[in-house]
Point group: C2
Chain length 602, copies 2
Amino acid sequence: MSHAATLRAMVDELVAAGIRDVIVCPGSRSTPIALATKAHPALRVRVLLDERSAGYFALGLARAARRPVAVVVTSGTAVANLLPATVEANLSRVPLLLLTADRPAELRDRGAPQTIDQVRIFGEHVRWFAELPLPDGERVTLDHVAAVVGRAVAIARGGSGTAPGPVHLNLPYREPLIPDGPLGPACALERPPFTDTLVGRSTLATADVAGLAARLPVSGRGLIVAGPQDDPSLPAALVRLAAATGYPIVADPLSGVRCGGHDRGQVIAHVDHLARPGPWREAHLPEIVLRFGAAPTSKPLATLLAEAVPVQIVVDGDSGWREPAIIPTTFVHADPVATALALAEHLVFAGDAPIERQWARAWSDADAIADRALRAWLAARTQSGEPFEGLPFALLGDLLPNGGLLWAGNSMPVRDMDAWLPLGERVIRPLSNRGANGIDGVVSTALGSAAAGVGPVALVVGDVSFLHDLNALVAARLHDLSATIVLVDNDGGGIFSFLPQASAVAPEVGLPEHYEELFGTPHGIDVGPIVTALGGEFREVSAGDLRAAIADSLARPGVQVLRFRTDRDTNVRMHREAAAAVSAAVAASVAASIGAAAVGRA
Amino acid sequence: MSHAATLRAMVDELVAAGIRDVIVCPGSRSTPIALATKAHPALRVRVLLDERSAGYFALGLARAARRPVAVVVTSGTAVANLLPATVEANLSRVPLLLLTADRPAELRDRGAPQTIDQVRIFGEHVRWFAELPLPDGERVTLDHVAAVVGRAVAIARGGSGTAPGPVHLNLPYREPLIPDGPLGPACALERPPFTDTLVGRSTLATADVAGLAARLPVSGRGLIVAGPQDDPSLPAALVRLAAATGYPIVADPLSGVRCGGHDRGQVIAHVDHLARPGPWREAHLPEIVLRFGAAPTSKPLATLLAEAVPVQIVVDGDSGWREPAIIPTTFVHADPVATALALAEHLVFAGDAPIERQWARAWSDADAIADRALRAWLAARTQSGEPFEGLPFALLGDLLPNGGLLWAGNSMPVRDMDAWLPLGERVIRPLSNRGANGIDGVVSTALGSAAAGVGPVALVVGDVSFLHDLNALVAARLHDLSATIVLVDNDGGGIFSFLPQASAVAPEVGLPEHYEELFGTPHGIDVGPIVTALGGEFREVSAGDLRAAIADSLARPGVQVLRFRTDRDTNVRMHREAAAAVSAAVAASVAASIGAAAVGRA
């Protein structure tokens, strides 16, 4: 018996705790949750057919809307399909509430159909697990359920010192599954949640701020590294800190610092090029690095940090330990915005000498040189009609309007975003599943973000990733979503072309003999008819008409998949050419400045 | 450094322990395993792009080939995607070896890219977990790796008293990932495994056989229930037991007992109809049930057992506890074939009275009546051109040659298989993912079984299940597989039409208002162009030409998807009509026999 009163208590608490979106996958055992959530006017229910896709869809929606999203699935392998998105949500700190229907105790572990062990099935990959009791209509059950649901949402949002993330509630139901009474809100929509939470913001003591500030040599060889993060208030705080220290801000594409109305005078977009080995890098090794956000995307930057071994300070408001360079590190477990502002204020108040800007200017000048070199190189290539995988990001940086969401697939697109998304004034929100960096679920995630309705959505994704999540477009069809998808199609796994596996001549291990079969994986599949059959629009685009096609798609409803065909080998060559163009331009400026210094000395 | 010697030791042991098939998903961290398995001439490596699909493909291959299959994936969410197939393999007792590449210790839990917590990620859903050391080339490492790999395969195959199932080995690798020396067999292909295992067959003591036999009233109201199981030697043993007890064998479609050259005189195919409430059932309630295999598919049979509360004996050679009827049960944890034969022998030896066959004959007669009624009903319907979802199984039972594999999707197809797969002489192997009964991964599983090359493969699957696993056909394209797929397309979730959710008029819970959105889930997707784009052949078939289309497909290479369009409401009506036709025919025979008895008494 599914007691309607208990279901109403649960759903009322979901709403009171701030849930507004529920993704429901069809199932029988989940009938009570599906009907109860559907009956509440404050909840928007969307049905999806594939639970793996639904998990990623919810993740994208939660990220875009900046609030927890609930996913409802029936018992059995439906639950197991949520693990990939759960792993990503855990590492990328996205609030998800996983509501999994289950069989009651008497049907478990005795061979009953569609019954698996769902208790703690997500292990350490969720922030919290709880199993609700059967909805028996007892007063204490109602209150217990409301309290647990409120706590689950609160934990998913992140408490003091713990990151937001996925929470799993397992909900057993006994037949009959149809609730025994009316559903819908049982109380005023505006009531506070049963489990109400006030979460303190973690700030450093004044003495700790002073101690930290004392380690920052003003005008010294410092870098503020803005890693992947999604707090829109952080860029302005970092700009204040940059002004107070004289440090440039090395901005990951996913930091939110490259794009927006804040002062970008000290923001560096091209560290992925500048950090590559060469005379410029050797002359500009940092002595101190102050990082906010996750570890940056750029591999050259990661290598530079591991080799230069600067003093490193990592600020993480969620008490994390993200430090892959393996160098001695001070972890600051305090609110990043508050910390940046407190440090800036302390330095400005304490400082008496004017701040020298040569170091920051050297970075900015090099960044501008890199930017010009890249633009010139790309313009020449595009004019000659050669398709280049960085082009979509260069164009989307220009074309996406204020408030646009720009998704990059793993594994090549996000690197191309790093190299090709320029600084700009419009508030574009660059996003990617960089918790676990999976190529799975990328299209579903982007479409989930489109469902948030916060701005136009564009996604750049490779063909293997697109095939992996082929049924994602079912969601767009069922829910009338709009998105611009640039499908970079090089018929296989492009990233491997950049790895040693591609160039190794080692017949004793089967290379290059087995390279294409094991890594390149050409599939020869034309996804055009698939996109059309799933209700999307499909268009083949060349380098010459990509700009117009993106602009056209952004102006129209529905999902447009723009296939941009490239060649894996050519792509590697072009990436190396572009890098060489930057490196030559930057090296020339180094030589010129040395020459100028020599002239000055003469 | 990936020491080639350690990799060779690992792969040699895989081969020595009996692995012949390896499914590899592309990735960088998994490079050492991919290259090392590819280099061994005794291993057949197949590359698939989607790990979820790869897991199910391996499951299907392992089931069909009756030997363990290895799956190789890279680190990150790739691993998480294996959970659904792992859950199924655990519950359906299929040997899988999950080889997951991982980052080394120094990259874990510090924000390094594509690094998730893979240790024990499958929790209780695998039989064993072990993490291998870095391949450092030390002698002790080589031996340890060989011993662990051999043990893993042995456990996956199932030891004495433990069921076969999935085993997870986590394999960390440090860069460079390309092995440092030659790969390929390091020793003779015919060497015994490092960890060699002799597994005892668990047999009952003579006294226990006698005790059990004493509980079986020869010629009494007993049933041998043959549930889902896949041991081809069991049917003959059950036939011997049936002869010795006089009990009919109630044969689940997945028991392997319906089809084959054994004596089928006491085999009952239509228990799903006979067990429905009615005069026949009431007159034929069993007093003792001796079950082999998993719990049967038929819900009417399950209900009958729960209500009639017969003495129940469940024989499970893997020490399982599969008893969902929740009635007092004797679990026999001993080899099923040996147990059936020992019981039969004991009864024959001990028996002095001739065995009465009335009870068995009553079941056989009713089964024959049901069969005739169903055939007549179906013939009339098919002649009138009305598509019926049971038709594919009736036809495939006729058309599949000896050695054919017949897969049924969950959730409606397997029930239709139960109702419509007749008894027959040809050795058809009916299969379904009935461990967890998921609708996910069904197409991948069937295609995996096609890769085993043991016989032609046919699959009957619904449209929601097909959409869920849409990219499964990529596997067929990459590996030139052949299969006949009957796609029963009723544009949504057909099984819900049979559940209370469909007929409930309960506006206070939103029924029928939200039925189609939450349960029916019509999607309107025409999968034809998708199948063609993925390299399959697609054909629209009517009830009239389904037979010819199946016959044609079975005779040709490649994957043919035969779309058989049905209507959800009509389908429910037709199922009820068919059930009514059987019930009327059987009731008439009961009345006639009562009449005859009355005449006899007169």
